[in-house]
């Protein structure tokens, strides 16, 4: 009895330690971004493209990278959704019967998830060379969407897996087809989770530097077509951070702050949207 209590206390202690460790490091990161980024954050930073001496600490902002990153990651997320949602539904509605096979697919996707994004970048670059495409927004969108597809499918799959077989049976026994069941029942039941899964993929897309390093190029202009190269926030941070000039390095932190705020905004919006649908979810 006493032993049990000690055990309980011990594990509680362990839990508190790890929770506070994680929270503390999270706060530290956010704090240092704010601390170093806030001073040079200005309206100019988010509303202007780099001017002549920007990389030496003169006027201009990173609007090109903000817009470029948004174009790139929204494009890549939509492209990945076009493939990812049907794949995840197919795995859970059509292949539900073949559990072992689906687990094989899951294993394979998990492997792809583990591949560093630089490899996807190199892969995208090889394909670009083969097809003769120059560094462009399009090449970046394709590469990033390939890179986030396994992440998105697995995240969607984890959510769709939670649909109970009884609900599946209920829909089929009404005489609906599998695709009606997939789109009208499975999607509706899991919308909040799906939004989170898509958001997770979006976060990966907007935050990744390595996959766009060779594929999107970099420019001070806002792209006007998907065939043009584009700047992205992670690369903007990377380039500015490497500068010997103090002022430019501090702008790198304010760029990171902007990236963080974008991700925060999008996650809040998706929460609001998914809360609207959450009430229809059948709870078990």
């Amino acid at each position: 009895m006493k032993l049990k209590k000690t055990e309980e206390i011990f594990f509680k202690f362990l839990m508190y330690i790890s929770v506070s460790f994680i929270t503390a490091s999270l706060f530290l990161i956010v704090f240092s971004i704010f601390y170093k980024g806030l001073p040079s954050l200005s309206w100019e930073m988010v509303s202007e493209t780099p001017k002549g001496g920007f990389y030496f600490g003169k006027e201009g902002g990173i609007l090109n990278a903000i817009i470029g990153s948004l174009y790139l990651s929204i494009g890549a997320t939509i492209l990945a959704m076009l493939f990812g949602i049907p794949i995840a539904l197919f795995m859970n509605v059509y292949l539900r019967k073949y559990n072992r096979f689906v687990n094989g697919i899951r294993f394979f996707l998990d492997l792809l998830w583990g591949i560093p994004s630089i490899v996807y970048g190199a892969f995208g670059f090889t394909i670009m060379v083969m097809l003769g495409i120059k560094t462009s927004l399009l090449a970046g969108i394709i590469t990033v969407s390939i890179f986030i597809l396994p992440i998105m499918v697995r995240a969607l799959d984890e959510v769709l897996k939670t649909v109970p077989v009884g609900l599946f049976e209920a829909s089929l026994s009404l005489g609906s087809t599998r695709s009606e069941t997939a789109f009208r029942v499975f999607l509706r039941q899991t919308i909040p989770g799906l939004a989170t899964a898509i958001l997770l993929s979006f976060g990966r897309a907007i935050g990744d530097a390595a996959s766009v390093l060779f594929t999107t190029g970099y420019t001070d202009h806002i792209p006007t077509s998907i065939m043009q190269p584009t700047a992205t926030l992670p690369l903007a941070i990377f380039f500015q951070l490497g500068s010997p000039i103090e002022e430019v390095r501090s702008r790198a932190y304010s760029s990171a702050l902007i990236l963080t705020i974008i991700i925060l905004l999008i996650s809040v919006i998706s929460r609001i949207v998914s809360a609207k649908y959450n009430k229809h979810r059948i709870k078990f």
Binding site: Y98, R100, G166, E169, S173, L174, T177, K279
Partner: protein, 251 residues
Amino acid sequence: MKSKIDIKNLNLFIGKQQILKNVNVQIPENKITIILGPSGCGKTTLLKSLNRLTDLYEDVKVSGEIIIDNEDILHSNQDVTAIRKKMGLLAQRPYPLPMSIFKNVAYGIRISDSENKKTIPQRVEYHLKQVNLWDEVKDRLHSPASRLSIGQQQRLCLARGLAVDPEIILADEPTSALDPISSQAIEQKFIELKEQYTVVMVTHILRQARRIADYVIFMYLGEVVECGTAEEFFSNPKEERTKAYLKGAFN
């Protein structure tokens, strides 16, 4: 007596375990057939195989014949959704669809009849009245079905099943979560429904079976021990196991 469903030599395995053992029964048209039997004897499994829900599981092997309207549905090349539309299955545990109360019933209506969109509200009302749910939900038709109580969900699922306009109703303990008054209303409804439908119902309540059954199937450990008209079955059971069950020997 005209039979609607004719089950011949039905065997069902899940993995290596045999769940249904050589089931041979005929289910009469426009009658209420009650399936009785202790828990775990395979009643739900039998209902699900009538609806081909057994297709959903990899390790389920079914053999034999289930003939409905001169067609063996187990080996038919007819579209399985068409087979399922003929039957409204009311599962043991209610699963409303993740949408509003109104849309749950409308979902069933749209499957049976995708035209006549204008009449949908009236028909939703009609089906909800049929299952005695209308008065409770008429002011919140557009609120989520997930907020209904289990007993209300059970009746909603019945309304949804009826909305598909089936020929056969398969009901797995449809009154298990209902109070005596609502149960009786549902029983009454089934008695009315048998004019147009063939009703197959699983129940654990012997008194309920006595009240409404025309025909009884008694199962035990995956076998059909005895089947026959309700009168015969209750007044003059032949098998020892039936007698023991009716006396309450196994739950």
